[in-house]
């Protein structure tokens, strides 16, 4: 499976070392396999495996109030499944969420079942007024994750990073 181990490691290191993330919630998806394994194997990080992504909003909500920095790993369809929690939980209560969303269904997608979600991901982020950046080059990953966390913290609102094919998938 040509998911990039190197890019996954850069993302994980940025979350843990640069951003001080100590709790990560995740629902498995192909592009996230290495990231989830890294979180699982790291004794300093609590990995919470979810049944559905919206739970992660509640878990990060609680972690934030309890003083622990967290991040959420999900596919864009998981973001779609989380929207009520994001709006009537995190946005209503001004909770910073650091959401790392694998951007399936963008240019280069071969799986037909990912394409509708891909088409609505950015319009939905914009409709919800969630600031987002692309992670598509290992060179800027650490800086952009740190900036997303900083903005989430200063606004007390969610921010999103879209994990792109060029970063996560090595077949091109």
């Amino acid at each position: 499976m040509p998911v990039s181990v190197d890019s996954s490691q850069i993302i994980f290191d940025a979350l843990k070392k640069d951003c001080g993330v100590r709790l990560i919630s995740a629902l498995p998806e192909t592009w996230l396999v290495h990231l989830i394994r890294m979180a699982e194997e790291d004794a300093d990080v609590t990995l919470v495996r979810l049944a559905k992504e919206e739970e992660g909003v509640g878990i990060s909500f609680g972690a934030h109030l309890a003083g622990v920095k967290s991040a959420m790993l999900m596919q864009n369809h998981g973001f779609l499944a989380s929207i009520n929690g994001i709006v009537s939980g995190a946005q209503l209560y001004r909770i910073p969420l650091l959401m790392l969303i694998s951007y399936r269904g963008e240019f280069g997608e071969r799986d037909p079942w990912q394409t509708e979600g891909g088409a609505v991901t950015e319009p939905l982020l914009e409709a919800l007024r969630i600031p987002y950046l692309f992670l598509d080059d290992p060179e800027h990953v650490a800086q952009r994750i740190a900036k997303a966390q900083t903005l989430a913290s200063s606004t007390n609102k969610p921010t999103a990073l879209l994990l792109c094919r060029d970063l996560m998938w090595e077949e091109g």
């Binding site: 909500f61 609680g62 309890a66």
Partner: protein, 192 residues
Amino acid sequence: MLRIDALKEIYAELEDCVVVTIMGAVAAELQSIGHRPNFFYLQHAMGLASSLGLGIALSRPGLQVVVFDGDGSLLMNLGGLTTLGRYRPRNLVHVVFDNESLLSVGGFPTATSTGSDLAGIAAAAGVPRTRAVKALDEFSAAFSEALAADELTTIVAKVEAVGPKAFVTDLGLLENRFQFQRYLESVSAERA
């Protein structure tokens, strides 16, 4: 059993707990008994109170967390029970007030009114201690035992489908949220 009587019965025991409630009648009734800075009322995001409690419990293992859930809310996040059952935080007591209805939106019956058994579902999801209670003294005993048990417990308490006249209270949502966060910061020195 009336939910407000159940809350009154255990109110004193909540003094040192971190309390998270769902929206609607539970939040309004607990506030009518007396708000405390260690109480947080999740006034929307239905279903996520148990997940929020899990996030606190995992982040701060030295604090005793109590979640007051409801049948309608829990039915929206049954998958979350499997996550609770997976991580089994010892410092979390999960109380479900089951009035078999969506009371605050007109009293429409939920699936517990036709036999869905939330305590059974919790046990099957992996919650190590579950209790189903109907009477006030049973509830009070089950709650005290759960606090002492040092093991994740879900208590499903059947209550009557009656609640307060109004659900909006004087406590602002953000006022509650920031006060609660400050409370959690303030106890960090003494407890993990």
